[in-house]
């Protein structure tokens, strides 16, 4: 578990150094994810240790959003003033994104092979 955690943190650290060093708009952890992905392809898969540690972290991914989300208490005023616009934007835009992405993928998937219907 320690080795796996070190691997994850090391990837994040390298990602962070690259992002900041080259002034890239992409955040460090995302570059870290790409790095780890490349490492997995090269090594031919995660070992048991990395597999189980990663699974443990991802199983409760939702928990990790709680501290940032609680930050809404700082913005209660703005939210109280502008809630109709914020709510409309969140609701309609999220719905539109779900529909557009799924629809486009469904259409693309059908065309190239020209399978039955």
């Amino acid at each position: 578990m320690i080795a796996a955690l070190s691997t994850l943190l090391l990837c994040q650290l390298i990602g962070e150094i690259i992002a900041r060093g080259l002034n890239l708009p992409v955040p460090g952890p995302v570059l870290g994810m790409l790095l780890l992905f490349v490492a997995l392809v090269v090594r031919g898969g995660p070992g048991d240790d990395l597999q189980s540690t990663g699974q443990g972290l991802l199983q409760h991914l939702s928990l990790l959003f709680v501290p940032a989300g609680t930050g809404i208490m700082v913005h209660l005023h703005r939210v109280a003033d502008e809630w109709p616009a914020l709510l409309a934007s969140l609701l309609l835009s999220t719905l539109a994104t779900l529909v557009v992405t799924a629809l486009v993928m469904k259409l693309c998937q059908r065309q190239p092979a020209g399978e039955a219907r």
């Binding site: 955690l5 943190l9 990837c11 994040q12 708009p25 992409v26 955040p27 460090g28 952890p29 995302v30 994810m33 790409l34 790095l35 780890l36 992905f37 997995l40 392809v41 898969g45 990663g54 972290l57 991802l58 409760h60 991914l61 939702s62 928990l63 990790l64 959003f65 709680v66 501290p67 940032a68 989300g69 609680t70 930050g71 809404i72 208490m73 700082v74 913005h75 703005r78 502008e82 616009a85 914020l86 934007s89 969140l90 609701l91 309609l92 835009s93 999220t94 719905l95 539109a96 994104t97 779900l98 992405t101 799924a102 629809l103 486009v104 993928m105 469904k106 693309c108 998937q109 190239p112």
Partner: protein
């Protein structure tokens, strides 16, 4: 209040222990409720935990900063967890390769829809400019979205909240939308929810299936990178 109790409160309110413990307890309780409801998406554990914590902090008169001093240890794990998303991605690589074309086109369409429609609708309903800009990266995972908001003149902490609300909306409504559209492929369902609702959607997708989760993770990573590149350019045209 007797002096010892008062002293105890002074200690607890300045130590990170309380914020950290409360976060874990609130989440466990919320997750327990979610399970008891038969995993009903409306009983979203993130939403319940946040509601509990905000009420508790407001009632006890504790500032968010004090709370976050403790909760930051949980918040920090978002970084390594983002890196760890490479693992399910690797496991599903073969499936991703087979769906390469739909993935690329779906990502472009979804990413643009997410950012442009959020700003346009907020503008239509008369939101202030900082709020509009804070909404632009709403479909992207929190650390990336906050970075984008800062760059384009939004309010990073408001963005964090909007991002989480978007995640919860997608996690709650995704199944309903996809069933109505008759989209049954777990890869497409996962990818679409990952584009629209980043990590919270991904967390939800993992609860449904490993395949859905892997595609959601892929979508979240790609959309994070693409939005970070696109939104600052698009905002220049506003």
């Amino acid at each position: 209040m007797t002096p010892p109790l008062n002293e105890l409160w002074v200690y607890l309110s300045t130590s990170p222990l309380l914020g950290l413990t409360l976060t874990l307890l609130a989440y466990q309780f919320a997750f327990w409720l979610y399970r008891r409801s038969g995993m009903n998406p409306l009983a979203n554990p993130v939403l319940i935990a946040i509601t509990l914590l905000v009420s508790l902090l407001l009632v006890s008169g504790t500032s968010y900063q004090t709370y976050f001093d403790g909760a930051q240890f949980v918040h920090f794990l978002l970084g390594p967890a983002t890196v760890a998303l490479a693992i399910p991605l690797y496991t599903q690589m073969r499936r991703v390769r087979a769906l390469l074309w739909p993935v690329v086109v779906g990502l472009l369409a979804g990413s643009l829809t997410a950012a442009l429609s959020a700003v346009a609708i907020a503008r239509l309903f008369g939101a202030s400019l900082p709020s509009q800009l804070s909404l632009a990266p709403k479909s992207v995972t929190t650390p990336i979205a906050m970075g984008i908001a800062e760059r384009i003149g939004g309010i990073p902490s408001l963005t964090a909240v909007l991002v989480i609300a978007t995640g919860i909306l997608g996690a709650v409504g995704g199944r309903w939308v996809f069933d109505r559209m008759r989209v049954s492929d777990p890869a497409i369902r996962g990818f679409a929810i990952g584009v629209a609702s980043h990590g919270i959607g991904t967390a939800r997708a993992f609860q449904v299936s490993e395949q859905s989760g892997a595609f959601a993770a892929l979508a979240m990573g790609l959309n994070g990178a693409l939005t970070a590149l696109l939104v600052p350019v698009l905002v220049g045209w506003l």
